[in-house]
């Protein structure tokens, strides 16, 4: 199993390189110009100098290698610096200062050149790190809620196969599967914030939780986006859970368990459920990146300024380095969770051996 994991890890390197080349190649064809915002009074030769300062004069492969260097070597150094300097977990360690280089002229340590956004001229990773908590709160919570709702529905629908609960459950999951989030979002806003006036329609990210009332407000503003995302998750996972339970309920070991006098609850909740969870857990792992992708739309509807909204604004502002970085982060998540799913499948099911 360990060798399999290591082998898969090695295989994921060329995959990531391929994806980065695809994204980089796409963005190379972009018509956007970072100097478009610079006033027309600036002479063209100065603009050319500014472009070269951004690294745009270099040949394509040099630009690509520099980007790789930035993403995989420079940025992790800054991340380690940040963790040892100010994070809660590792703040007690001595400050590493990996990202600093010694400048001969100034005779002191200065930060290395980092990959900057064309929009804000600040390091991209700093902005991404600022935005990730919002996305994680909403998306992560939605995924959790979705899983917690869908598992019991799937189990009970399979156990009472063809009952009214099963029929309605299947219908509702099918509906949840089919309604796109850009319709459920506005629909829920119309129902719960416009007609009933119970919940706010816009997610206020500047809101700070400091007492009970503000905590309640935070909860109420999270309900709608979480519900929209959770509907999709619930629909998918409960379908898988139901199918997997149905497969297992007719197996011989279930009959054996019943025959030796185990209680029905133990048979279903221990024997069948544990075996049915194996494929479902891999589906859950595989679904994490896709829900981040789907969150692009949900964030747009509710005004959550997470990473998906950052991608949209960067796209419209022609901020190529930002788009490249965020898209690549999505790709890394897909590759990583594919790996997690494969490994989990092997760990949970002893019949599956890869080597």
């Amino acid at each position: 199993m360990l060798t399999f994991t290591i082998r898969r890890l090695f295989f994921s390197i060329p995959t990531l390189l391929f994806i980065s080349i695809v994204i980089f190649g796409l963005l190379q064809m972009a018509p956007g110009d970072p100097m478009a915002q610079v006033p027309l009074t600036v002479p063209p030769e100065v603009k050319q100098k500014m472009r070269e300062a951004l690294g745009l004069g270099a040949p394509v492969h040099i630009q690509y290698l520099k980007w790789l260097n930035q993403f995989f070597i420079v940025e992790p150094q800054f991340l380690i610096d940040w963790m040892t300097r100010s994070s809660f977990l590792f703040g007690w360690l001595p400050d590493t200062q990996l990202g600093m280089v010694y400048d001969v002229e100034l005779e002191k340590l200065v930060p290395q050149q980092r990959n900057i956004s064309w929009q804000t001229r600040s390091p991209i990773m700093d902005i991404v790190i600022q935005r990730i908590p919002q996305t994680l709160w909403v998306v992560g919570l939605a995924y959790l809620v979705g899983i917690l709702i869908s598992l019991p529905i799937g189990v009970y629908s399979a156990y009472r196969h063809y009952s009214i609960f099963d029929q309605t459950g299947t219908f509702i999951t099918m509906v949840g599967f089919s309604i796109p989030p850009f319709f459920t979002g506005p629909l829920l806003i119309v129902i719960f914030s416009v007609t009933l006036g119970w919940l706010p329609s816009i997610y206020d990210t500047t809101h700070v939780v400091k007492d009970w009332a503000s905590f309640k407000y935070q909860l109420s503003q999270m309900i709608l986006p979480v519900m929209v995302l959770a509907l999709q998750t619930t629909a998918q996972i409960s379908r898988y859970m139901r199918a997997s339970m149905l497969d297992n309920l007719n197996q011989d070991y279930v009959r054996t368990a019943r025959a030796k006098g185990l209680k029905e609850g133990v048979v279903v909740m221990v024997h069948v459920l544990r075996n049915s969870m194996i494929p479902v857990i891999t589906v859950i792992a595989l679904g994490v990146p896709s829900i981040f992708g789907g969150a692009i739309i949900t964030e747009n509807v509710f005004g959550v300024n997470g990473i998906g909204q950052l991608l949209i604004t960067a796209l419209f502002a022609n901020d190529i380095p930002m788009v490249m970085t965020i898209t690549f982060i999505f790709a890394i998540m897909i590759v990583a969770f594919n790996l997690v799913a494969d490994v989990l499948y092997g760990v949970l099911d002893p019949r599956i051996r890869y080597d």
């Binding site: 994806i19 089919s178 309604i179 796109p180 319709f183 629909l187 692009i296 747009n300």
Partner: protein, 328 residues
């Protein structure tokens, strides 16, 4: 499992020797499929709704011949006719049954035109992704030398973050394609090609699996032994046998294509602003949905019902085309 052997009790000892005619004329396989399909109520309803929508958007402009682009500023913001049931003071007009938008354009005509765009994109993108997927799946399953390469490629494509890449590609290639093929044509080609190029992987995997299993069967060996060429084996013996998984993934592909097109339009990177699609109508209506919720609901319900119908159709087809389930 069903037990096929039946015990009829006392048997006539010579019965087995008599040459009996089959009780009925042998049934066509597709009749069996249709019988099984009819049992799935949701699938029949879904398929019926899909046919209704397709016919409505095809024939609709000839029946309801109002120009969807015509501005009628005097009759702007007309509510749908059914609003009059509970609100007699609402501005309703009998010749604008679904109402008009903030520029006085007829919403029913826009719904038909938007449905045309959505369905056209959906069907074409689905056909494109299906042909790519089938070609790659057949090539990988049939030719051993290509298998490793093509399947690695499929895995790589599965790792691409689809929605972000779609957004990137659409914003980047919009200008050149619009210049060459006109604003609508260019966008149509762009969306169809991009959705097709990013959604063929599942079909390829399923088709490859089926082909790998079929390739070892005796009838392929027989075909090969009488000197049939590879192309003929694929066309005459393999492809007809993988029609059912292809049809199931076709329905899935149609649903995905319709949703993707609407999502792109919703995010504002789809068709140009004067060209209605369901996603675009929905997005345009969101800022004023407090006053005019029907403008969000109508296109939203249209998208959802179409996708729901397509998904149910796929469910029913899967059951009907699976010979292990059929006849139970």
């Amino acid at each position: 499992m069903t037990d096929t052997s039946t015990n009829t009790g006392e048997m006539d000892p010579y019965a087995a020797l008599q040459d009996k005619e089959p009780p009925k004329a042998p049934r066509n396989q597709w009749l069996d499929v249709w019988d099984q399909f009819k049992k799935h109520k949701g699938a029949v309803l879904g398929g019926g709704f899909l046919m209704f929508i397709t016919l409505a958007v095809l024939l609709g402009p000839y029946i309801w011949n109002v120009d969807p682009q015509k501005l009628d500023i005097r009759n702007k913001d007309v509510r749908p006719i059914w609003t009059a049931i509970w609100d007699s003071s609402a501005k309703t007009l009998w010749h604008r049954p679904f109402g008009t938008d903030n520029l006085g354009r007829d919403i029913l005509a826009n719904m038909i035109a938007g449905g045309r765009a959505s369905m056209a994109v959906g069907w074409t993108a689905m056909l494109l992704s299906l042909s790519i997927g089938t070609a790659i799946g057949v090539a990988a399953g049939y030719f051993k030398r290509l298998d490793g390469l093509l399947m690695r490629m499929t895995d790589l494509f599965l790792c691409l973050p689809i929605l972000p890449l779609l957004l990137v590609a659409v914003t980047l290639f919009r200008q050149p394609l619009r210049a060459n093929f006109g604003p609508e044509g260019g966008m149509f080609i762009l969306i169809v090609v991009i959705v097709g190029l990013t959604s063929w992987m599942q079909t390829a995997r399923i088709v490859r699996g089926e082909i790998l299993a079929l390739k070892e069967r005796e009838f392929i060996l027989a075909a090969r032994s009488i000197g049939t060429s590879s192309g003929a084996i694929i066309r005459r013996h393999l492809l007809p046998n993988v029609v059912s998984p292809i049809m199931v993934s076709a329905t899935l592909g149609l649903a995905v294509a319709i949703i993707t097109e609407s999502a792109l339009s919703f995010l504002g990177v789809g068709f140009p602003s004067d060209f209605p699609t369901w996603g675009k109508m929905l997005a345009d209506a969101v800022p004023r949905m407090e006053q005019y919720p029907e403008r969000v609901l109508l296109p939203g319900i249209a998208i959802s019902l179409t996708v729901l119908g397509v998904n149910y159709l796929g469910d029913g087809l899967r059951d009907a085309l699976d010979p292990r389930i059929r006849g139970r």
